[in-house]
Symmetry: C2
Subunit: 202 residues, 2 copies
């Protein structure tokens, strides 16, 4: 059981802030922090493994999961649907394990609504809007219209940062992981997370 | 001015938990964390420097400081009086600098009352009461009655840990400093500490 409940760490960031890389680095570098495996209706990309990278499901199956309240949050990105399964999250909380969710602002709201005090929300931004623009253009994978759309969306997402518990300004990747690590380690020491009846000196 | 207000970190622990050593190590190891220089009526010990280790004052001067509300908290330990000067604390808060206070449970309450959300309270305990007893006896500096008194006092202080924000179980000194460091670094990233009007992306 352990002395405390698990914690759900939610990481959100405007697109281009380096969230995916940071999430991957966090899972590698922060002991005891587990990834959540999302459900998605999109097709597997090369190298992706069902049940590891995602649970790949049909749209019908996705709708069934939503109807059965088996998803803690959902999001539509381009043509695909994504969701976070509730059962593994709730098992982790009960067993005192910590999970990292890489989700958007709306998803973060849904998770906070469901799990309240067991949720810690972290927002990651590049040092400036200009820096984000540079990063998005450097990728060179999208046309001008797509970059403009991403920038507008980033502005809108950015406006939600005051809802979050922590703000990481991501100027260097290594420093951002260290900051996230400090947040995880500190939250694990919070007195209010100790289980009722737990007595350090029994 | 900086993007955020300063933070007062309060460290309390039952006697024998290794608080003094931890405080010293924290000031050395945690960048930007400053010690608070207490006022005391006790005589300087060998090697102690006035204005560095303590501000040494007479009892009359101490009473004057209390009457003028120049102390944020006070404590009586054996025959001597101790207090934390307000002015340097409040300057640090306004300037966005962080201060570490090594004070008892009552002092922590007074500080929390005065500075509310700017205060982070950390309680440190040895892994068990039995371990504390071993440590106190190992010192060999006190007679049986004094050890007994310290143990009773430790039990009473321990009971206050639920009032604190964080609990550090001090099994190894190095680990305890790292935990305190994580707490300091995480608290510095809290969104609610950002100054009103501060916009990361202005």
């Amino acid at each position: 059981m352990g002395m405390r409940r698990g914690i759900i760490f939610v990481l959100s960031a405007p697109s281009g802030a380096g969230k995916t890389t940071l999430t991957r680095a966090a899972i590698e570098r922060i002991a005891g922090l587990e990834p959540s495996v999302s459900v998605t209706t999109r097709a597997p990309r090369k190298g992706e493994i069902d049940g590891v990278d995602y649970h790949f499901v049909s749209e019908d199956e996705f709708r069934r999961l939503v109807a059965n309240r088996e998803l803690a949050e959902t999001a539509a990105v381009f043509d695909a649907l994504y969701g976070t399964p509730r059962e593994p999250l709730e098992r982790a909380l009960a067993q005192g394990r910590d999970v990292l969710l890489d989700i958007d602002v709306n998803g973060a709201r849904e998770i906070a609504q469901l799990y309240g005090q067991d949720v810690v929300r972290v927002f990651v931004i590049p040092p400036s809007f200009a820096e984000l623009e540079t990063r998005l253009r450097k990728r060179g994978t999208e046309d001008e219209a797509a970059v403009k759309r991403r920038l507008e969306q980033a502005r809108a997402e950015y406006a939600a940062y005051p809802e979050y518990d922590y703000l990481i300004i991501n100027s260097e990747r290594a420093a951002a992981v260290e900051k996230l690590k400090a947040i995880v380690e500190a939250e694990r020491l919070k007195v209010r997370r100790l289980r009722k009846g737990f007595a350090p000196w029994s």
